[in-house]
């Protein structure tokens, strides 16, 4: 199930090759044996529903019934006097309280449009504009990693049939293939049914009948679904949880090994919550719970290496500050980045909070970005992995000279 893929040959002639020119000759001192895993959430995570600004006076006005609060049956988990965590993430909360998690809020990449593909391209390539490179910043950063005589020091780990863009590049990628790929998400099914309704009603009926059948097969009896109108039938929650946890365990297993890769990347899909977002007991809650399970699996799987680990959970952009007409949120701008791991100086929410007043929203709709995600990633690469400033500004995040690495994260 493991295959070694060396992408160097494929990239001959591309700009990424020049990264080798900047290979440091000697290893920098004073670094432990660090691990760094990047989890990319594709589809744009609703940062406000993940880490809610419960102390902001405009919060409840914007989200109404959908606003997370620290009261009631589904009370959010307090982080400090201003922010609270989605109740689906007790593990993250525990780690935060133990000083092993840091949350960066109102953060965004330099991308300011609202296309998923382009946003993901900027997020993972590390370039300012989409379509600039077929390589990712994490892979290019490997060239700056002190080898210190270790085998595989400059190898990236990735989960999935193809490595996420962030991990692709000149350095070899060790790819682990999950035994089962997750089934088509309910989101994909509902998008397809919607498309069929407009283009081919016969196919719409055929697919809907099949979905209804599988809902019955998976034990969601008619009565049950009637009681929980928010829950679409047959959300493959168990399969998603299993896939997230399995991928995280595999990453931890490989990266914990003394001769294993030191950086890795995993991508989880499904975060594009346009309708029936379900922040506390619907789709988003299920996804966040699955992510929380993956975080737990990482902590366990890393074992002793957890103290040397940082996990960064990042997404292409955030979602609208308001709820839309279908109980969901549309594409926005700023969101959260979750940093987790024993190497962090955690227990903090880092946010230059822009506020949620009408005038403070970007384009009158989105959380305004006040922190550049590249500053956060550069901070980790610099202080945790000892990648030097020059390489960071030139090759890892080209054109980011003006963006200083965020200091003191680890």
């Amino acid at each position: 199930m493991i295959h070694q893929s060396n992408r160097r040959e494929l990239l001959l002639g591309s700009g990424a090759l020049f990264a080798w020119a900047y290979l440091p000759r000697v290893a920098q001192a004073e670094c432990r044996d660090p691990r760094f895993l990047v989890i990319v959430l594709r589809g744009a995570l609703d940062g406000l529903a993940t880490v809610a600004p419960v102390g902001d006076p405009d919060w409840q006005r914007l989200r109404g019934e959908n606003a997370l609060t620290t009261e009631g049956a589904t009370a959010a988990l307090p982080l400090d006097s201003y922010f609270a965590l989605n109740p689906a993430m007790p593990n993250l909360h525990r780690l935060y309280k133990a000083g092993q998690a840091t949350i960066v809020h109102a953060v965004a990449t330099p991308y300011r449009e609202r296309s998923h593909f382009d946003g993901q391209d900027v997020l993972e390539s590390g370039f300012i504009r989409p379509g600039s490179a077929d390589t990712g910043w994490l892979n290019r950063a490997l060239a700056g990693l002190p080898a210190a005589g270790r085998v595989n020091a400059r190898q990236a780990f990735a989960v999935g049939p193809i490595a996420p863009l962030v991990a692709r590049g000149p350095a070899p990628v060790l790819a682990w293939m999950p035994p089962r790929l997750p089934p088509a998400s309910n989101d994909t099914v509902s998008r397809l049914v919607d498309l069929y309704r407009h283009t081919d009603p016969t196919l719409a009926n055929a697919l809907e009948e099949r979905s209804a059948l599988s809902a019955i097969a998976s034990g969601a009896a008619m009565g049950d679904t009637a009681k929980k109108p928010q829950m679409a039938p047959a959300i493959p929650g168990a399969a998603v949880r299993a896939y997230f946890a399995e991928s995280a365990s595999a990453a931890a297993k490989f990266m914990a090994r003394p001769d294993g890769p030191r950086v890795g990347a995993v991508a989880f899909d499904g975060w594009d919550t346009h309708a029936n977002e379900g922040a506390t007991k619907g789709r988003l809650a299920l996804l966040l719970a699955a992510l929380d399970g993956a975080i737990n699996a990482l902590e366990i799987g890393m074992g002793d290496s957890w103290k040397d680990s940082v996990v960064a959970v990042i997404t292409e952009f955030g979602r609208t500050a308001r709820i839309n007409g279908t109980e969901g949120t549309d594409h926005g701008t700023a969101t959260v980045a979750l940093l987790i791991g024993g190497a962090l100086k955690g227990g903090r929410v880092i946010a230059d909070w822009p506020g949620l007043k009408e005038a403070n929203l970007r384009d009158g709709r989105d959380l305004k970005p006040t922190t550049d995600l590249r500053a956060v990633m550069k901070g980790i690469l610099k202080e945790h992995l000892c990648v030097d400033d020059h390489l960071l500004a030139q090759n890892v995040f080209p054109g980011s000279q003006a963006i200083n690495p965020l200091a003191g994260l680890v």
């Binding site: 863009l165 088509a184 498309l195 283009t199 081919d200």
Partner: protein
């Protein structure tokens, strides 16, 4: 896809590519715009249907290899049983409780041959340009279908298609008919290999008799069609005529075992009347003469014309199209190149909006083509076809897989699972919008275009594209 679309020549050309051929391969756009000449050119290439691969075995070689393999495995099993019996005895005496686990023998040679042939067939479809000739191969292979699940047929499936179908898709129907009905795979599948004339030498001596299976299916499925006026006597007499069309026994001949033979000792002697004609006993030529008569029958021409039109154009095709194809069949004495040309040049074949659901094998191959995937291992592709209800060379009955779209509608959910698998494997590295444009050009609906651009990831967009109505229908 309204009428205004159908009048646009470029749109019409793309409809035709999907209807008669296979969608453009990733990165090749040269066919769009002139599909018709590309397909006509394909028909004129004498070797367009052939698979050139010296590693593949002929049906005789495959049958003999499978036979040798079975014999060796049997011998090895007997030897292992004897040995493990002795070892058990020894172990017992030594007081050890360890027992040797019998090793997994792995997939047998018949299955290996089947896999190699499947791979060659898939590669041929992925490499094809317009894909019209390949689609014709699939059509005729399903018309004259066999099943790997019948005893002895598995190692022969690929060779059957290469030997009896492919050389004749742009040749004469009568030649294909003879090649098919005298092929060992067909003689095994429809039991004629062991059909014995009651008054033949073998029949009188062994007291065995006729098997009507092949004779009936030739009349009902391969040529005239059901309820076209033949009687039970015609079936019985035809079965007598083709007694002796058999296979060289594998035990008897290490050089020719498994090959076709006409065995006069099994052949029913005498003149026989089949559908109003008397056929004198001229051995093998007696059966050949019946096949020639059948291939010239107007009922056969109608039957083939209807099947071609409903396979390629619509479940319920225009009558004028069927009539046009049937008369071309009769006029050219069953010249399949001319009939195929008539199919793609008939105006009725181009006009209707795409309504037919792609058959699973077509859809899987088309998906791989547009994504530019060349699977190193054919097994997942075969599994996908199994899941979708169209296992390769394994028909449930001699009438083959259905050409009716509703038969395949139930499998739409499974298609989504497979689209999801494919797109998760390759979707992130591709540009779904560009693929959609390359594949459908002006036929791409705004709704689909918008759904692709709004997808949350490239792989989701690709799954939606493979599932879109444009991609499912042709």
């Amino acid at each position: 896809m309204g009428l205004e679309m159908a009048r646009d020549p470029r749109a019409q050309s793309i409809v035709a590519l999907h209807r008669f051929g296979l969608p453009s391969k990733l990165g090749s756009t040269d066919l769009i715009g002139d599909t018709r000449s590309a397909m006509l050119a394909e028909l004129d290439k004498s070797d367009a249907a052939l698979i050139k691969n010296d590693d593949l075995l002929s049906s005789g070689e495959a049958a003999r290899a499978a036979f040798d393999f079975r014999q060796e495995r049997k011998a090895a099993r007997l030897a292992a049983n004897a040995q493990s019996g002795a070892e058990k005895q020894q172990a017992k005496e030594a007081g050890s409780s360890e027992e040797k686990q019998p090793g997994n023998p792995g997939p047998g040679l018949p299955q290996q041959i089947y896999l190699e042939e499947s791979k060659a067939r898939l590669e041929s479809a992925l490499a094809a340009d317009a894909g019209f000739v390949e689609r014709l191969v699939w059509f005729w292979s399903n018309h004259f279908c066999i099943s790997a699940d019948k005893g002895g047929v598995r190692p022969l499936c690929g060779a059957y298609e290469r030997e009896a179908i492919r050389p004749h898709v742009t040749g004469k129907f009568s030649d294909m008919l003879l090649a098919v009905e005298s092929h060992p795979a067909m003689l095994l599948y429809l039991d004629n290999a062991r059909s014995i004339g009651p008054n033949s030498f073998a029949g009188l001596r062994r007291g065995k008799g006729l098997n009507e299976n092949l004779a009936r299916e030739i009349l009902e499925l391969h040529t005239l069609g059901v309820r076209t006026g033949y009687s039970q006597d015609d079936v019985t007499n035809f079965a007598k005529v083709i007694t002796g069309w058999s296979i060289v026994p594998l035990r008897q001949s290490p050089d020719h075992g498994g090959e076709f033979t006409f065995n006069p000792r099994m052949h029913e002697p005498g003149t026989h009347r089949v559908i109003g004609n008397d056929y004198e006993d001229r051995g093998f030529e007696q059966g050949h003469a019946v096949l020639l008569t059948l291939s010239k029958s107007p009922a056969t021409a109608n039957h083939i014309a209807l099947k071609l039109a409903s396979h390629f154009v619509a479940d319920d095709p225009p009558r004028s199209l069927v009539a046009r194809l049937a008369s071309r069949f009769l006029d050219t004495k069953g010249d399949l190149k001319e009939v195929s040309k008539a199919l793609i040049t008939a105006p009725e074949a181009w006009d209707p909006a795409p309504t037919k659901l792609r058959r699973p094998s077509d859809w899987v191959v088309s998906s791989l083509r547009v994504c530019g995937v060349k699977p190193p291992d054919v097994r997942p592709i075969l599994q996908a076809q199994n899941l979708l209800g169209e296992p390769l060379w394994r028909v449930p009955a001699p009438n083959g897989f259905s050409d009716n779209s509703t038969a395949w509608m139930d499998g739409l959910g499974q298609r989504l699972d497979i689209a999801n698998q494919i797109s998760r494997r390759v979707g992130d590295t591709l540009d779904p919008a560009a693929i959609a444009q390359n594949t459908f050009g002006p036929l791409l609906s705004n709704e689909t275009k918008e759904a692709l651009s709004r997808a949350e990831s490239r792989s989701q967009a690709l799954a939606l594209l493979l599932m879109s109505s444009e991609f499912q229908r042709r």
